[in-house]
Symmetry: D2
Subunit: 345 residues, 4 copies
Amino acid sequence: MSIGLAIIGAGYWGPNLVRTAQATPAFRLDWLCDLQVERAKGVLGPYTTVRPTDSYDAVLGDPAVAAVAIATPAATHFDLVRHALEAGKHVLVEKPLTSTTSEAEKLIELAARRRRILMVDHTFVYTGAVQKIKELVDSGQLGRLYYYDSVRINLGLFQHDISVIWDLAVHDLAIMDYVLDRVPRAAAAIGVAHIPGRPVNMGYLTCFFDDDLIAHLHVNWLAPVKVRRTMISGDRQMIVYDDVEPSEKIKVYDKGITVSNGLANGHGNGMEKAHELLVGNRAGDMMAPQISLAEALRVEAQHFVECVGSGRRPLTDGWAGLRVIQVLEAAERSLAVNGTPMELA
Amino acid sequence: MSIGLAIIGAGYWGPNLVRTAQATPAFRLDWLCDLQVERAKGVLGPYTTVRPTDSYDAVLGDPAVAAVAIATPAATHFDLVRHALEAGKHVLVEKPLTSTTSEAEKLIELAARRRRILMVDHTFVYTGAVQKIKELVDSGQLGRLYYYDSVRINLGLFQHDISVIWDLAVHDLAIMDYVLDRVPRAAAAIGVAHIPGRPVNMGYLTCFFDDDLIAHLHVNWLAPVKVRRTMISGDRQMIVYDDVEPSEKIKVYDKGITVSNGLANGHGNGMEKAHELLVGNRAGDMMAPQISLAEALRVEAQHFVECVGSGRRPLTDGWAGLRVIQVLEAAERSLAVNGTPMELA
Amino acid sequence: MSIGLAIIGAGYWGPNLVRTAQATPAFRLDWLCDLQVERAKGVLGPYTTVRPTDSYDAVLGDPAVAAVAIATPAATHFDLVRHALEAGKHVLVEKPLTSTTSEAEKLIELAARRRRILMVDHTFVYTGAVQKIKELVDSGQLGRLYYYDSVRINLGLFQHDISVIWDLAVHDLAIMDYVLDRVPRAAAAIGVAHIPGRPVNMGYLTCFFDDDLIAHLHVNWLAPVKVRRTMISGDRQMIVYDDVEPSEKIKVYDKGITVSNGLANGHGNGMEKAHELLVGNRAGDMMAPQISLAEALRVEAQHFVECVGSGRRPLTDGWAGLRVIQVLEAAERSLAVNGTPMELA
Amino acid sequence: MSIGLAIIGAGYWGPNLVRTAQATPAFRLDWLCDLQVERAKGVLGPYTTVRPTDSYDAVLGDPAVAAVAIATPAATHFDLVRHALEAGKHVLVEKPLTSTTSEAEKLIELAARRRRILMVDHTFVYTGAVQKIKELVDSGQLGRLYYYDSVRINLGLFQHDISVIWDLAVHDLAIMDYVLDRVPRAAAAIGVAHIPGRPVNMGYLTCFFDDDLIAHLHVNWLAPVKVRRTMISGDRQMIVYDDVEPSEKIKVYDKGITVSNGLANGHGNGMEKAHELLVGNRAGDMMAPQISLAEALRVEAQHFVECVGSGRRPLTDGWAGLRVIQVLEAAERSLAVNGTPMELA
């Protein structure tokens, strides 16, 4: 038996949800809802049997609808998700889950009380690439983790309501939360708003973990080239994840450093001490593992279906959404003071 | 008439100076000096007429020597340069000029008093690529400058005496000083020393300028891949300088943003206000200008020759060396407090 | 008023036509026809108002249908197109137009007689990249054309009914026909069928033009990497068209050779003659022009709409389809004799 | 005890031999000989103890000279090598060994009779990359070999005495001879000479082996970009060797095709037969093995030293040089008839 679904929001991301829902047999897509019903009609096109509407109440009041997928601006998430959960619907909501940690906590509590699935659309978590990275990190073969460094930049759409950090870094924080399975103790952020009256359009976000693990994210709407590259480095192996590559998105380098005692072979005019700790390089093979090419959104839709059916907790549940927002909030406080690090709430 | 030259230091960089000096007809290479004379002999090889020595005094006492080129560890620069200037020699010294700003100031003063050339080996400034970038920035075609972002990482030699910031960021600071011709008001740095007892091996350095111009440098000895990429972005055009590319090192993107008034076409469910400042993208052609392929060190050697001959001030004089050290010192203070920005001295 | 359209074939390419037709307001998609009606239903999905059918007669007998788009195996094209034209329908047919030149000639004649549009789906011609290349070549800025070299390889689907030359080289021949606007006088081909009983799976096809212009195509279903790269070289400028690049698909190199008289500076031990024709290199800027990112199939669909409405001859009409088949036939004859060139019919 | 060495030819390649010989302790470089003695002096520079000369007789008459390394134009190789062997010297000669097979055979015979080493400078054979490829091919892990495809193009020096095939394809033929260890039965070549009175400046060379193995080489002096890429494909694994890459020059793809019986799932309108041989794709991991970064010319020089010392047969002996020339001669005959294949002598 299929799950009656309504999609809320026919803007930038909504059409992807519509396409995915129609290709997922376990769903029966009943409604596409947008305050501008013409926009919903435009997305559905002239050959559809799916109903457009501008009434969220009608959607929530439809007993055939068991779940809603929400792709509206972040500021509206809290109210829309709350109403949906209160109407007994399961919810998949676009990232970020909410605009504040307190809102996120309320939704988590509400979903638990109503025994409904609350899943955040951290799409990248469902890519073959991130699944493979998770597997590699969990295997321990990287050794002790040293750093996580990510660059996500392009000439992108300037959002008018949220900063580039809330728009782009959220992807990296979601991936990092999933892959590292660790919570940073502090965050720092530096950013600039080059257009007066607009949010920050480029930023550098640092997360401080225990054990000298550091994460650094560069996000930018105003870059001439599209870069989406993450390095995850351990003391034994290192991963480069280049999402712009059409194939070989993940490369695992069997490289690192070696530490030994011995005679230094430094450069310069020979003044270095004769005995000291020597740090050398170790180079080895590189391996690009085969990864699943399944479309992330389809994998995610199927995962939502399974969670709704079984009550199982989603990989990207409300708590994952909350942890991401905790970092974003600390980053925002740091941004206001030019990068002085802030402890997480 | 050729300039009698002595090279000091037969370590990592010295052999490049030897090779370059021998290929520069205006020089007559007289000495290669290293505390380990065997190392000097090894660099010169069995077929040479150049004299190896371990006596800096002998070199400085040789009236045939008009200039010295110093490629020893940074900590030794101050004393070696000072003695050379006092002995009336012109000096080309490897970066960084000294370990502190006060030392640099003393050398600048001394060189001026003795009327000798003091030139810092900021090699990248003499590449065809950086010369072309300078030309593009000076032309004003980039528009108002927004940011300078640089990544210089690889699996590199762990220095034992200086951090990765003093080792690698110094290159970017030297390029930036030359290209932007502006002095930052503050700097911030975050870094980690993953090997106990060793200097910081990865770091992120931010420079704050007036007018919302920001610079950010990522330097790292422990990266699986070699990246040397700089983006310089203005509101009209943007440059990508990729030094790893064998050709087309510089790409100029005729891209940017457009700001206008009008009806928003945002994403989401249509709640955005009807009238606001609109920010759009503007895409255009990309151009990779032809650049000189002349080896930077040869160009630099020739420039040193000309400065010695004419008394002309080098492009990378002591003041340039000093400005770079000012940023490095502020970065070091910031590093100690996890990235809180520090005003420049 | 919209054009009633039926799509024939719900295999590999059909779904793209369905998607495109639904997004083209000037079309009213009435039918999707496939001998296996279940396949047509699967392509349309559960939310459609488009009718699936397995009856080509029903489609051709429907007076509301003004045009058909045919995406069936090549061997079926002749009969399907002929019936459609005889029924008074306009036709867009997947490449290659037919399996033989004589069939192609008959269809061209029939379309002319019935005054119906016959357009071949040479999709690449409608890309922004090929349109830009055409513009550059037509401008004359390349100078005298020297060669056209193309590589189109990947680990691809082994067709069971046609060789890799009929499957892949047809794309390059269609692009070349459009861009060069010249007909080769002879063609040669070398290929290997590595799987017994299967068609040739890798091949090298050469076209000989007048004036020392040469074209060479490498096509391969069994390559470890996906390459789609074309070089078009003149004596003044050269183009590289890399279709795998997400951006900057076209690069124009202001490079070439210079010919002059003078003293040779050859290598070797000095035995060359003192006076001879000197050939040097000329390097200059590279430019990557902005190109339209519009989806080729949508541009092509719109062009078909305009041709149907105005009677205008399509860019890729039956004659273009015929010229491509003439080269393919000569190549096939050459293949049988290990690459001895064959004159075109 | 070191080997007295003389280098003949101070043109394009000679300086590399000089540099390498000086860095090889087992050599004692005595002479650099060039008909233009000023050129020899220029290469040696002002700081050398090596003697320049324009007298080949003086070199051959010097009993301290045990070996000569010849880097002169191809047309002079036969005479220079012959005289050296007759004077009892060991010989390393630049590729191609000679201009004709008969000359090569005479030199091989002469070297054997005089018991002297005759080694051809097939430099690429001594790279870490080609050594690794040889190891991979010999291991059998590629399975049955299907093809060898190479592209070696750039905007290069137009030779005045030899065609691009003799200049560039010789590299690929030397690599192929070493890696495949098989002799083709026929060769075909197509090429164009775009400059009147000059040799062919672009060409396509095909080698036909038994067992459906085919090799194809594209060489070109007039390409806008530098490409040096070789694919070696077997039915189980495939290698891509990209010599332009600074690292990861070799990639081994665990990819291929699968052949099975079953129900076809072809595209089109369902007319394919139900039972046939099915060919599918198999994708797997990619691995870039670590390769030695030792400079090829140094490895080769050391190998020459060992062969001279031990009488061992070089990897690239006269026979290897001869086999390469056999293919070049067949290619030349084919070129004259527009690519009709020619049996090897």
